[in-house]
């Protein structure tokens, strides 16, 4: 089991939602999609790579063959998948502090959702409904979400600088170069394997090293 791939953490949460309230949740998601400002809180939480909400109506679990028993459920289900950087606590707390009202709006119709404030019942709810990941892959395990964004800025600045300044006189080149470094200083960084953000991340690293030896 590993919910961790390098610096990324995978969260999978499945929660029941009353079947007759699914349409409300769908409507809220649709409104959120057509009004990007409602997702500003998620953007501010720059530790997220991708997040998604999937609603499974109670009669819509995939059934591929008559030999497979048909599901008979009281509730529909909402699956939440997230990829973020940092530890579990940091992330769940970030939700609580950064976007409590938006979060409540998405989960409000789920059975016994305790609201994101106060913290402890919210932690308990997420932990109760979380499913562990069996295999988690990250194309850039040493990069946080912010590294990916910074890298885009560095690449563009580097290409622009090369086009405009590479062939200037040395002193002019140096002036432009220093301006470039000054502008990019917030985006520089040497990517390294993840620092220990949690004991579980360290355990994953050790297991990985061990598997390379075996």
């Amino acid at each position: 089991m590993s919910n961790i791939a390098g610096k990324a953490y995978a969260m999978n949460v499945i929660t029941p939602i009353r079947w007759y309230m699914v349409w409300i949740n769908r409507l809220i998601f649709k409104i959120a999609l057509s009004n990007p400002s409602t997702l500003k809180g998620l953007i501010t939480l720059s530790l997220i790579h991708y997040a998604r909400w999937v609603i499974i109506p109670r009669d819509s679990f995939p059934r591929l063959d008559p030999s497979q028993p048909k599901e008979e459920l009281n509730y529909s289900y909402m699956l939440f998948f997230s990829n973020f950087n940092g530890s579990w606590d940091q992330y769940v707390d970030s939700f609580t502090f950064a976007i409590p009202s938006g979060l409540d709006l998405f989960w409000k119709w789920n059975v016994r959702y305790p609201k994101s404030v106060p913290l402890t019942p919210f932690h308990d709810y997420i932990r109760h409904n979380q499913i562990d990941t069996a295999h988690y892959y990250n194309a850039y395990p040493m990069a946080a979400s912010n590294d990916v964004k910074s890298a885009k800025i560095v690449k563009k600045a580097l290409i622009d600088f090369n086009a405009t300044s590479a062939d200037k006189a040395p002193e002019d080149f140096l002036n432009d170069y220093n301006k470039l470094l000054n502008n990019l200083q917030h985006h520089f960084g040497d990517m390294r394997p993840t620092p220990i953000v949690s004991l579980s991340a360290d355990a994953v690293r050790k297991r990985h090293l061990q598997s390379q030896i075996d």
């Binding site: 499945i14 929660t15 029941p16 009353r18 998601f29 649709k30 998620l42 953007i43 790579h49 991708y50 997040a51 909400w53 999937v54 499974i56 819509s60 679990f61 995939p62 059934r63 591929l64 030999s67 497979q68 459920l73 509730y75 699956l79 998948f81 990829n83 059975v111 016994r112 959702y113 305790p114 609201k115 709810y125 109760h128 409904n129 562990d132 990941t133 069996a134 295999h135 988690y136 892959y137 990250n138 194309a139 850039y140 040493m142 979400s145 590294d147 990916v148 964004k149 910074s150 890298a151 885009k152 690449k155 580097l158 080149f173 140096l174 170069y177 520089f188 960084g189 040497d190 990517m191």
Partner: protein
């Protein structure tokens, strides 16, 4: 449905697993163990599936009974009705659900369109398992319902689409570039950071000359090479 956010696509697949067993191990547990034993990072089969940003596999065994106390709008209202009717109180209590099948869940975030991605999955998924055997994608999906009818990429695409669920909301918190673009950018960030550190305090002519050599080596506009390989987990 929001399976796309800009150029990124969200794929959510729930493949039902057969309810049988081999000896005394259920098909679900066999599948789970195979997923758990998949090599990680650059050795993961997903590192070979083109355009995969982040992806995961797990087994959905059952759904959870909401036994925790909580503020639930409907339940709170029932607290009032319970003054008058105990059956109303009981009716508002959460009910137990159980799934009749277990599901292999694949959740992937990738660049581009679904069909091309699935062809890549079928053709490129490859890894060496813990016993040294070369494996393809069939090893993971082997015990899923109806997967025995999957024989080529077209039937694989059809199969996955039958297992696919639409996302109600897909949030893209990353850049909206292709994976190749992102990996090249990360490579340049790494290399240019090192360049800047190594050339601190040197003369203008020295830095300029070194910069030109750096550009020739790093080739910022060439996404193919040199670049950061997918899943690379060491500097």
């Amino acid at each position: 449905m929001a399976t796309k956010s800009g150029n990124a696509t969200a794929l959510t697949v729930l493949s039902p697993i057969k309810n049988g067993a081999v000896d005394e191990t259920s098909y679900a547990d066999i599948t789970r163990e195979r997923c758990l034993r998949l090599p990680i990072h650059e050795n993961s089969p997903l590192s070979k599936v083109p355009n995969t940003y982040l992806a995961r596999l797990f087994i959905l065994d059952d759904v959870f009974y909401e036994s925790l106390p909580a503020n639930d709008a409907v339940f709170n209202f029932s607290d009032i009705t319970s003054l008058f009717s105990d059956s109303a109180r009981k009716k508002a209590l959460p009910r137990k659900d159980h799934l009749k099948s277990k599901y292999l869940v694949l959740s992937s975030n990738f660049y581009g369109n679904l069909e091309d991605y699935l062809v890549g999955m079928w053709e490129k998924w490859s890894y060496v398992d813990h016993e040294g055997n070369q494996r393809d994608i069939r090893h993971i999906w082997e015990h899923c319902v109806a997967f025995d009818r999957v024989t080529d990429s077209a039937s694989f695409i059809s199969y996955i689409k039958r297992c696919q669920l639409d996302a109600s909301l897909f949030f893209n918190g990353s850049t909206d570039d292709s994976l190749q673009e992102q990996l090249k950018s990360l490579y340049l960030k790494q290399e240019f950071t090192r360049f800047a550190v190594e050339h601190q305090g040197k003369s203008a002519a020295e830095i300029q000359q070194a910069f030109k050599a750096f550009i020739e080596r790093a080739q910022p506009e060439n996404l193919e090479s040199p670049t950061w390989s997918p899943g690379k987990s060491t500097p």
